[in-house]
Symmetry: C2
Subunit: 492 residues, 2 copies
């Protein structure tokens, strides 16, 4: 059907076509359906919104800037808009939802259509449901991973060995990445590390590093940083690596679904996209962690099976996830913990230090940078020598940051939580601690969060500080304190 | 968060709030998420769209007319917009997707939130997937039906017996409704019949009747028509009956899913909403029908179980669905078949006549309008007497139509398909026939479609006409003819 194009004068972050309801009916399309808009030889798929009344006519179509630019047209130009015929990929999703195993070709078609906006969010939800209810074989997950990589941008580095360390998450703080990257890059490893922002946690590594440095880069700029320093700590979301994964996660988030197949493919795709050859995977388990021990063992096996198909060298390590690792929770406090370790300060959290050194050591062994059994010792030497701190500064500086920026931030309001009886800490609930820090304002408020004075098995005397809650506003502080009293995240 | 409201100057058919991407990030909401917009004491849930650049600022929020009116505000007024906290209903959907059985309260919460726009299309897709993969118990389906009815508008007629006939569909033409309503209303039954438009077929009853009469009415107007004539044949979609069902169907449509639970609840809810007490359900079965014999038996049992819980008098009838019923396929040609039967013309299709009379007879028996075993005879008498035609004209006239409008329509282009050998018709594929009529332009093009000269077991001589394809444009005709050659819907 022919329409007169009209610029919406706005960029919606996705291609949008607004048409009169009567025109949509004539085309047989509904809100959120897809139409193919054609001008000359250029075609683009746009998402339909309809209008009942208002400022336009039946033969007009209002297009977002993305569409106008892609089609190279201006207001008044004539375009064709037609319903996108039923995608084969929608049928493949139906097949998976009915319990069939999908071929590489079919999985690729689904992922390609997700990236091209040819599948609606609802169709993506069907795909997620199918993965959730029927699971996926290792082969299917490998195909999914490959499809995610192929349909995104990639980083190509001229290096034989590219290392990565990843944690499946769920443990507050646990901010090992900056320390591991600094140690390993000092030892000569290449670590183009991409990190995430918080989804349900109090902070992601990207939220933490952002305090002292930009974290959003192009692939070209990231490449320069890595060639210069051996590593980087950037936000993965800005790079366009495995963009289908970002869209899938956005739909998963709605009902907190996280099917195993998608979890594995999501992690491996982002590693493959930056060329990783060696991956160390941290799987923390425990009562309030993402997985319990049995699930951790199962997940580890599945990761290894998929990695084998993908010819990736992977090692998994099951770690204690019973409680937060480190003392600070929230961007500023987690960064303080990291810096105190790199600077070899006395009050630096030992648990976070030990875990970081242990993981860095494993990675050095895996990649042949040292003999088996010597990794941890060498990692510790690098940390103690001050070279890791130097490397960290070098990376932050290459990213256009400066570690002294941390000094500009000061927490505003705080409230100490004191023990109301003598006791021994018997439980610290990870999810409740994360939720508490979020109530206080983290991660959006960089100085909001928690400082934990006690860990499991520590003795508490009546009147002693258990933790301090920090907020940027009095309201949020009050809300967080009330929340603490309500959910009681720590038992003793 | 506070925003300055700005009218979008358009009605989107659903509440929409457009905000700057940075504001959305600060709120932690994404495109298609829901925000609660508050002005004074009035709250409304709106669907988020974001803008990267363009005509507005971070502290502005552009609202569709629906939202401006509901909140009773004008451009420049200050509103609060906050993320809608995770709905309990989303958690219930998660439970169902994990295989749990849902309570009446939980199902009601889901359906209520669907109607209130508090659940996104993707969340509805999760719900559909859950019904599809885990099925629903008869109790759950009854709860679903009740929830759908309660959250919509209803028709209350002061009648003890209200009758309905419904076919689960899948058979081209099969246009029994206008004939049955005309016969039964003549016999004194009350039949407030709501019909659908085509989704995947060549025509729905509403598409057919629309040729000679308006089919979109308010509940009040529908009531008047039924009180006056005893029946009506209107489009159900305009009435606001079970609006959750319409939304669910819109999301199902995307990948042609049709879970049994939703199919049953959808049908029963629309009957309950108009007050039906007696329902006759036609379940055509066959190789290219919606269900095979085994599935038809299963479906029939399930319908009866659910109806029993809902205290509905239901009878199911399994009919032969091996081939189209009637000769014409497409709005105009199906209406011609119906009128030829009502007018007692010699060339009227016998199969459609017999089926309509048989079903009308059953309904007369079910509702006590005649003795068991006599329904069909009485229905035939009413048809032969010309009273059914008179009643049909009366209903169409009460709806503001006129059966003579059919004469204004003439098919434009046609192409005869001739037998290329002698033979006996061994197969007529329903789905392919429907797809063929749609290629020709049905149902949007009212005069597009097919005329079938032969049915199963008929003898064909080389050069004899099998069917004629009609189109409103030469292009569509050519496309349909090519499609015919490609899919070969008829074997002989």
């Amino acid at each position: 059907m022919k329409f007169k194009a009209k610029s919406l004068n706005l960029s919606a972050g996705r291609p949008v076509a607004i048409m009169h309801l009567d025109a949509a009916r004539a085309l047989g399309v509904h809100v959120d359906d897809r139409v193919q808009v054609t001008a000359g030889k250029i075609k683009i798929i746009a998402i339909v919104d309809t209008i009942l009344s208002g400022f336009f006519k039946e033969d007009e179509i209002a297009l977002s800037e993305e569409v106008m630019q892609e089609l190279d047209i201006k207001t008044g130009d004539v375009v064709d808009a037609d319903p996108v015929p039923l995608r084969q990929s929608a049928h493949y999703i139906f097949e998976k939802l009915s319990g069939m195993e999908l071929t590489e070709k079919k999985i690729f078609a689904i992922i390609e259509d997700i990236v091209d906006n040819a599948l609606a969010e609802s169709e993506i939800a069907y795909f997620i449901s199918a993965m959730y209810t029927h699971g996926m074989s290792s082969e299917e997950i490998a195909f999914l991973t490959k499809a995610m990589v192929k349909t995104g941008t990639r980083l190509f580095l001229k290096k034989k060995i590219i290392a990565d360390k990843h944690s499946i998450g769920g443990i507050p703080n646990n901010r090992t990445t900056p320390i591991i990257v600094s140690i390993c890059a000092t030892a000569g490893l290449t670590m183009p590390k991409t990190s995430s922002r918080a989804i349900t946690s109090a902070a992601g590594t990207a939220d933490v590093i952002e305090i002292i440095s930009p974290v959003e880069f192009s692939i070209a700029k990231m490449k320069k940083i890595v060639y210069k320093t051996g590593g980087c700590i950037v936000w993965g979301g800005a790079l366009g690596l495995a963009p289908s994964d970002d869209k899938i996660i956005q739909v998963e988030r709605l009902i907190y679904l996280d099917p195993e197949a998608q979890l594995i493919a999501s992690i491996l795709a982002k590693k493959l996209a930056v060329g990783s050859t060696h991956i160390l995977l941290d799987i923390p388990y425990g009562e309030s962690a993402k997985v319990d021990k049995k699930e951790a063992v199962k997940l580890s096996k599945k990761f290894k099976k998929v990695a084998k198909i993908l010819k990736l060298n992977i090692q998994t390590i099951l770690t204690d996830g019973k409680q937060p690792i480190g003392n600070g929770i929230g961007p500023l406090f987690e960064l303080r913990d990291v810096l105190s370790i790199l600077k070899r300060e006395k009050n630096a959290p030992k648990d976070l230090e030990q875990k970081s050194v242990m993981l860095a050591g494993k990675l050095l062994e895996m990649t042949g940078k040292c003999k088996k059994g010597e990794g941890e010792k060498i990692a510790m030497q690098i940390l103690n020598s001050g070279q890791a701190l130097k490397k960290f500064k070098e990376i932050i500086s290459a990213q256009g940051g400066n570690i002294n920026r941390i000094n500009k931030l000061r927490p505003k309001f705080f409230h100490h939580i004191l023990a109301d009886k003598n006791g021994k800490v018997s439980s610290i609930q990870n999810k409740k601690i994360a939720a508490l820090a979020r109530r206080a304002g983290a991660p959006a408020d960089k100085t909001a969060g928690i400082y934990l004075y006690k860990h499991l098995s520590n003795i508490l005397k009546k009147g002693e500080k258990i933790l301090t809650i920090y907020s940027e506003t009095k309201d949020k502080l009050k809300e967080a304190v009330d929340f603490y009293k309500f959910v009681k995240p720590i038992e003793y």
